[in-house]
């Protein structure tokens, strides 16, 4: 029943935004604008192009960082999953990185890489990379043994087996790692804009806060969350387009 679920989605959206509007009208704080005011500010910023420029600024380190993390992360993950040596040497690092609050490293990064694009890209990378590496490695390690054995039995070369069996078998988990990584990357990009140099959406947030233009600040926050959710949905659509309904499970199929 697509209609029912759509209705429920709209209903739950109406409840949440309604609560926001009411909370803004009470108001809970001088610094808490209403939903409608924030939307008005959002459209104003959209209309004068400020928001789009800001998005471009925010997305640059994000996209570069996620792309680097994806390429490097999948390659490292593959190496870790395939080689005992790599596993021993590198996986502890990524396990520690995943568990640790890397946000604390940001001040250091600024000292090393300065305040430009590099350190922002770096922040995105350290946030996004561990989960991509670990997911890829885990997926590769868990490639059903019977499939790789089958590949060997039918005389596949190592390259063949990696390209035609290991990678496709691991791809759902790799993609879920990419999705988690992108989401962590978004957190990193915003963190970088709030903690390193305010640019893009982070700049709108801090600047409008400093001049007490709270509707604009909330509009920027709203828009970046919306952007993240859209971004991830697009990623999910790509995944579905690539692998379609063909995946219903894994080794059990």
């Amino acid at each position: 029943m697509p209609e029912r679920s759509l209705v429920l989605k709209l209903l739950s959206a109406a409840i949440v935004f309604g609560a926001w509007e009411i909370a803004g009208r009470i108001p809970v704080s001088y610094a808490f604008p209403t939903f409608l005011d924030s939307m008005a500010a959002l459209f104003a910023m959209l209309a004068d192009g400020a928001l789009l420029t800001a998005f471009a600024d925010t997305l640059r380190p994000l996209v570069i960082g996620v792309a680097i993390s994806a390429v490097l992360g999948i390659a490292i993950g593959l190496a870790i999953g395939l080689s005992g040596w790599f596993d021993w040497l590198f996986s502890p690092i990524f396990i520690v990185m995943q568990a640790a609050p890397l946000a604390a490293l940001i001040p250091l990064l600024v000292m090393v890489y300065g305040i430009g694009l590099t350190s922002k890209v770096f922040v995105v990378c350290i946030m996004a990379m561990p989960v991509i590496v670990l997911n890829t490695a885990g997926a590769v390690r868990n490639t059903p043994a019977s499939l790789t054995e089958m590949g060997r039995a039918f005389l596949g070369t190592r390259r063949d087996i990696i390209l035609k069996i290991v990678l496709p078998a691991a791809s759902p988990l790799i993609f879920s790692g990419l999705r988690l990584g992108t989401s962590a990357g978004f957190i990193g990009a915003i963190l970088a804009e709030l903690k390193i140099t305010p640019t893009g959406v982070g700049d709108i947030i801090t600047y409008s806060r400093s001049i007490a233009d709270y509707p604009s600040m909330y509009a920027a926050i709203f828009s970046i969350i919306l952007l993240a959710v859209l971004f991830l949905n697009v990623l999910e659509m790509i995944e579905r387009a690539l692998f379609g309904g063909r995946f219903r499970g894994h080794a059990s199929d």
Partner: protein
Amino acid sequence: EKVRIALAETPSDELAAFFVALDRARKMGLDYEWTAFSDEELAIQAVLSGQMDIGFGTPYAVMQRSKAPIRIIFQISKLKFFPVTTKKYSRLEDLDGVPILLHSRGGGTDSIANVIEERVGIKFGKRSYVPGSANRVVALVAGQAEATIIDLANKNKLMREHGDKFNVLPMFDVEASDEALFANLNWIRENEEAVNILVEALLSVWRDMNEDPTIISRETDPNGPIGQLPKEILDNLDNFYREAVEGGLYDRDGGGRKAAMADMEWYSKAGQLEGDPATLDINDFWYFAPLDRAIEKLGK
């Protein structure tokens, strides 16, 4: 009831004098607690929404825009900032079109840059924002920037260590406030007693400090937030305050009307306040009673 104080940064050498004043205020019967926020805007917001009583910062834009009756009661420090550049430049005029690093959009260094542009008749290149003078120094030393504006302590440090590579450009004097204490007017009226004690303690410390900067290190409570700082920082306290006093960072009268007037002019020029400075009423921004009372009590 405890007075809740919103700091705009984590306790560090710059706040040592303030904490000495707080200790004196406690002896005079003030009960307080403090919270450190990661920046000035948060401290302002916290006071705005009533979660904190007294805040740190210069919330002129907020005072003019939001309907909340916020008032400044004491000037902590003046906007003593210094344009620092590589050896390539030696006068402000040379900076036409040069990219510059500043603290934050709409903040104090941003307004200094605005005023420089206006007075000298130049236009800076791209402005990039890096919060924290120390971080801007790092960027400068690392060669990531050619010009920036930094505070007194960092200027001195930079010149001590890398004086051969950088110039401090001569600049006009600024009397406007960098940090000030502010609070909600209604709250001030309900807590006159506490505010009076605090302002009096501050004024006394500011005066003593201008006489003898070492008083800060001597009076610092070894078990307080400043006393707990790493030894490396504590060892430098005397030096820090000596240079600060020499540089005229702390006004011995806590700013008052003189500072308020300077602020009106400065922040209007800097774009934070709207309207002609002459038409602005300083009483819409400052609340002088506690300071007046303290000056009267301690003498001129």
